[in-house]
């Protein structure tokens, strides 16, 4: 599962001032291992400043084209790995990589007839680009309606590639770009306002306008959202306001205040769990959630979606601290009271005691 592979860097491409995309050469014998679904990520491992660091970066390449695996990496302020990649990585370097993974992906099939709404902000474009390309190329009957928000013209990643897709698939692909702080020049005074960009953030008003302006044609509709935490919250709220069923919304939090998968678990923490009157004491092996640790021990904790949505796996933490990778079910108050979704919880302290009530 967490086996490391050595991949050679094929290309390092500056996408914007603060972002780079990195392509890897996957040797033939690893083709199967590195098969991925559009939306998934790669986890890279480096030794930086004397410590082992792992970070996950979404793949922006499409698995259905003959193209190398490519990730998009945007600088995070003070970020150990993102800055290392942007500053130092070069063609020919060997990088330690885990096989692709992730629950945020589109199940693309040739025969599908769907309308995809894609909402991306900033570097959140990375997995969205992969989904976009894969859908357009594979599903000849499906439609894609996409909003892409950025700060200004200069921070737009994959701008050229998006333009090309827009040109090539204009019958089935609508792209609206919005800028929160568009750069303007003095010379703009003599020009008519550009139609290329809308002004503002990806927020409730923007989303409602967009869906009314571009209603779905195929009626099997899915909504994919990727961006910083606030953008996700706003988008999901806007979608819920107009009664979009929750099971049609897929989200990946990204590139913002809460960077995903950057919280490291405490290695081999000791878990004490009270389940159905039984007291279970086991270690939590690195990479496992509390729920998985119990299941792998042959226990039967309650759970269902394993995606942080349904709250079937709810438990109360009586001792220690945990981190939820994803929480779409519990309110802040419940978390404060010590409740946690065990399917999403990794230990932050050496001793963890929980109870399934």
């Amino acid at each position: 599962m967490s086996k490391l592979y050595s991949l050679k860097v094929l290309e390092v491409k500056k996408e914007t001032k603060d972002s780079t995309s990195v392509a890897f050469d996957v040797p033939f014998e690893l083709y199967d291992t590195f098969k991925y679904k559009p939306g998934q990520y790669l986890t890279l491992q480096f030794n930086l400043k004397g410590q082992q660091v792992r970070r996950s970066y979404s793949l922006c390449s499409s698995p259905v084209i003959e193209e190398p695996l490519r990730i998009g990496v945007k600088r995070v302020k003070g970020g150990l790995m993102s800055n290392h990649i942007n500053d130092n990585l070069k063609v020919g370097d060997i990088v330690e990589v885990l096989a692709p993974d992730g629950r945020f992906f589109a199940d693309v099939k040739k025969e599908n007839y769907k309308t995809y709404y894609l909402f991306a902000a900033g570097s959140g474009i990375t997995p969205i680009l992969s989904i976009l390309k894969t859908v357009l190329l594979t599903e000849q009957h499906s439609y894609v309606h996409m909003i892409f928000g950025n700060r200004s013209q200069e921070t737009i990643m994959f701008h050229e590639e998006l333009k090309q897709l827009q040109e090539e698939y204009k019958d089935r692909f609508v792209l609206v770009q919005t800028l929160s702080r568009p750069k303007s020049n003095w010379s703009d005074l003599w020009k008519t306002p550009s139609k290329e960009f809308r002004k503002g953030r990806v927020d409730t008003a923007c989303i409602e306008w967009f869906i009314n302006e571009y209603p779905p044609y195929a009626q099997n509709v899915e909504y994919y959202v990727c961006g910083p935490g606030t953008m996700i919250d706003n988008t999901v709220k806007a979608l819920e306001n107009i009664d979009v069923p929750f099971d049609r919304i897929f989200i990946e939090s990204f590139g913002g205040d809460e960077a995903k998968n950057t919280t490291e678990a405490f290695e081999n923490a000791n878990l004490t769990a009270h389940l159905n009157g039984e007291k279970i004491e086991i270690p939590i092996i690195k990479g496992k959630t509390i729920l998985r640790a119990l299941i792998d021990e042959g226990k039967e904790p309650p759970y269902s979606c394993e995606g942080g949505v349904c709250s079937t796996c709810l438990c109360k933490v009586n001792k220690g601290k945990v981190h939820m990778k994803n929480n779409l079910a519990l309110t802040d108050k419940e978390v404060e009271e010590g409740y946690a979704l065990s399917c999403q919880s990794i230990p932050l302290t050496e001793e963890i005691e929980i109870v399934y009530e």
Binding site: E111, Y113, H141, Q219, V221, D243
Partner: protein, 401 residues
């Protein structure tokens, strides 16, 4: 099954018996994507329509997210039909009988006197009581709405995808409906014939130059191309050269821009099981054959035309009536006589209705049999019957009980 007397692939009783008709209702019209209207029928959030699709009555409602939902139009309490024909701006759906109420997701949200009368529903949320509306499927194909009674229906493109490239270049969403009386379809008629007789007439190339020798002769039947894409029939043919040469003037309505070209053709496909489209030079029509009884079928035609001003329609009409083309084409009845006689009316629909009803009449004669079949021009008639039989077989119509 009476195997002695056959139409082609189907026995004669398939066109006359109530038992067979009931089987078709169950195994064809309740297992296929059924035509439900045009996309603009459910234009805004809250709009709904209800349609009968085989044995099921299904309503389509548009949510605030602009997505359509379909449900079986039946209260989960005692089965009362919830919604009538068409309506607007529903926030919730309330059954008229006991005021049980559902939201637009089909979830049960209110039961009057719940505590006193239904204590067993009180320990759960209402929407978890297994009494939500039964979901159905709805989707859009070429500007038309279709419903399927199964909520996990195979997607509509798996059903229609193969025939799509054989349809006309018309962009249906950009056309506007033509109604002589507001809110009514262009043409509605109950025809005294089995629905399959009507389909077979629609897809019969052989009859075009004969039954319609004076009414559809502005199209060049000798140059027609036709065939099958799975269970669907496709057909197209050019205009005759004289009409084509003057079509800008002679066309009765403004030409449909998306279909304009130097080798303009008209497209007349039949989509399985019971919806035809006629995609012409100046009109785009749906031809919906709704079975009512073994010997009765309701035909509803809705017509769309280029989105042009009234003035342009009037201008075109004037130009068309002056065109010499119509001195030779398109309006001469097969027989001489009074216009009240279908066969002298000069109207191809009346000719078709006449032929279908006359054929149906003979089916009950002990002397009836099909004498021969034109190998090219009537191949479609046999193929259609095979498709019907295949579909019924696949859905258990002939399984031993």
């Amino acid at each position: 099954m009476n195997t002695k007397r056959m139409m082609h692939a189907l026995p004669v009783e398939a066109y006359t018996s109530q038992e067979w008709f009931d089987l078709e209702m169950k195994t064809i019209f309740s297992t296929t994507w059924q035509f439900a209207g045009l996309v603009e029928d459910v234009a805004n959030a809250g709009d709904y329509i209800s349609v009968q699709a085989g044995l099921n009555n299904i309503f389509i409602v548009k949510g605030r997210d602009n997505r359509l939902r379909a449900f079986h139009n039946m209260c989960r309490h005692r089965g009362t039909q919830l919604l009538r024909a068409v309506g607007k701006n529903q926030k919730a759906i309330t059954c008229p009988y006991h005021d049980w109420t559902y939201n637009l997701e089909g979830k049960l949200i209110s039961v009057p006197k719940k505590e006193e009368e239904f204590p067993n529903l009180c320990n759960k949320e209402l929407h978890d009581c297994g009494l939500n509306l039964h979901e159905a499927s709805v989707d859009i194909f070429k500007g038309m709405l279709f419903v399927h009674p199964d909520k996990d229906a195979p997607n509509i493109m798996e059903f229609f995808g193969d025939v799509e490239p054989c349809l006309g270049p018309h962009i249906v969403e950009e056309l506007v409906e033509y109604q002589e009386k507001e809110g009514e379809p262009f043409y509605t008629k109950e025809i005294k014939a089995n629905w399959k007789i009507i389909v077979e007439n629609y897809i019969d190339h052989y009859h075009l130059a004969h039954l319609h020798e004076g009414t559809l002769n502005m199209y060049d039947h000798a140059k027609a191309e036709f065939g099958w894409a799975g269970q669907h029939y496709w057909f197209n043919e050019p205009l005759v050269p004289e009409y084509m040469a003057d079509v800008e003037n002679a066309s009765p309505q403004p030409l449909i821009k998306a279909n304009k070209s130097e080798d303009m053709r008209v497209y007349v496909p039949w989509l399985f099981p019971n919806i035809g489209i006629t995609e012409g030079e100046s009109a785009w029509n749906t031809f919906h054959a709704i079975p009512l009884a073994p010997d009765r079928t309701l035909v509803v035609i809705r017509s769309k035309m280029e989105n042009a001003s009234e003035w342009e329609f009037t201008k075109q009409y004037t130009k068309s009536s002056m065109s010499k083309v119509w001195q030779h084409y398109g309006n001469k009845g097969k027989y001489e006589g009074d216009a009240s006689d279908s066969m002298a009316s000069g109207d191809f629909m009346e000719e078709d209705v006449y032929a279908c009803e006359q054929q149906q009449k003979s089916l009950s004669s002990p002397m009836f049999s099909v004498g021969a079949r034109a190998q090219r021009g009537e191949y479609a008639v046999m193929r259609f019957q095979e498709e019907v039989k295949k579909w019924m077989e696949k859905h258990g119509a002939f399984d031993k009980k």
